[in-house]
């Protein structure tokens, strides 16, 4: 299955804005109160310590987005935050394959040997994508996020270290 993996560009910012209507860990962790269009643009223009990538199908349809946190180069660890944009078996499969490429690329470029990720319990497709890439559940942060009038648990997934 063919797909394209590319860094997020300015033309993708409207997608990022509309993505805020989705209940997902990406939104809750990235911006507690949500961003206006202007704030998204400001963040994009500023120097920031994270990077974001978009997975597209061969037809150019956005399938998923991954936010990669600032790497800890001493410990060789980085956070990755996947968010799936299209929920179907094909997109999960493409996303898994794409994330594998991204993980390999980060490992080579930054000498990263461990990754971790946060997900809400309902993000089952994202959890499957992580598991397909060797992530295991390492912690459950109880009642860690508050939205929609209630506290929600946050799951922590991590990979075994390659070089330990």
């Amino acid at each position: 299955m063919s797909f394209r993996l590319r860094p997020l560009i300015k033309a993708d910012l409207p997608l990022k804005y509309t993505l805020q209507s989705k209940v997902c860990s990406y939104n809750e962790l990235h911006s507690t109160f949500g961003y206006s269009r202007t704030e998204i643009e400001i963040e994009y223009e500023q120097v920031h310590d994270f990077s974001e990538y978009l997975f597209e199908s061969s037809q150019g349809e956005p399938i998923g987005l991954v936010r990669v946190g600032p790497p800890d180069l001493i410990s060789g660890v980085v956070s990755v935050q996947p968010v799936i944009l299209v929920n179907n078996a094909d997109s999960t499969s493409i996303f898994s394959e794409g994330l594998a490429q991204l993980v390999a690329s980060l490992g080579i470029r930054h000498n990263i040997s461990r990754m971790f990720s946060f997900l809400l319990i309902d993000e089952t497709e994202e959890a499957e994508i992580l598991r397909n890439n060797g992530f295991d559940l390492e912690a459950v942060l109880k009642q860690h996020l508050y939205f929609s009038g209630a506290y929600h648990d946050l799951l922590v997934f991590g990979t075994l270290r390659r070089d330990a």
Partner: protein, 198 residues
């Protein structure tokens, strides 16, 4: 100014006069070995970090609050840092550190922990406190597990002293802390209640 008083220590925001001792502590290898920090940080960067801490302290909706504990005779003992404070989710990461080596493994650690939790729950109205504790830091693990619960372990997450270390995530909810205060009223916290400190 918000502060909490214990039997031996008083916890409050640092003053300008506390900066020199904070610089010494934040440059001390054992002190930073148990915190997420870089042992190679130059003094100039440490000074800049401390000024940033004090500036953060002045903001009402800051994400980072730093408190210093002084003993009854004015001797500075340690720091409580509440980091990544999220006022919507009402939680924060708590880091504690005793400054001088001769004050470690004394009763000060327990009181510093208690005062940090009182500050977080009773003064700042937070709902949950969590912390990252290295597997190798047995005294901190013992202390934080005394009232907190382990939520998981990040495997080989941090590199220090030539090894990858597991990092335990320990958390405590406000209602669990309130229960602890009630349950220990006649035992380990008796002198605090008798002294009107709780």
């Amino acid at each position: 100014m918000i502060h909490r008083q214990g039997l031996w220590l008083t916890l409050q925001k640092p003053e300008k006069g506390d900066i020199p001792v904070m610089i010494d502590w934040l440059q001390e290898p054992v002190f930073i070995a148990n915190l997420f920090g870089n042992p190679d940080t130059p003094v100039s960067q440490t000074i800049s970090n401390i000024h940033r801490m004090l500036n953060d302290n002045a903001k009402d909706l800051t994400q980072n609050l730093t408190f210093i504990a002084h003993r009854y005779d004015g001797v500075p003992i340690g720091l409580v840092m509440l980091n990544h404070i999220n006022w919507k989710n009402r939680l924060a990461e708590m880091n504690l550190a005793i400054g001088n080596i001769e004050h470690r493994n004394t009763m000060y650690g327990g009181e510093l922990y208690l005062l940090g939790l009182l500050m977080a729950f009773q003064e700042l109205n937070l709902n949950k406190i969590y912390g990252y504790v290295y597997q190798s830091n047995s005294s901190s693990l013992r202390l934080s597990s005394f009232v907190g619960k382990q939520e998981g372990t990040l495997r080989n997450h941090y590199y220090g002293n030539g090894n990858y270390l597991d990092v335990n995530i320990i958390s405590l909810f406000r209602e669990e802390f309130d229960l602890f205060l009630t349950n220990e009223k006649e035992t380990i916290l008796r002198r605090y209640y008798e002294g009107g400190l709780l």
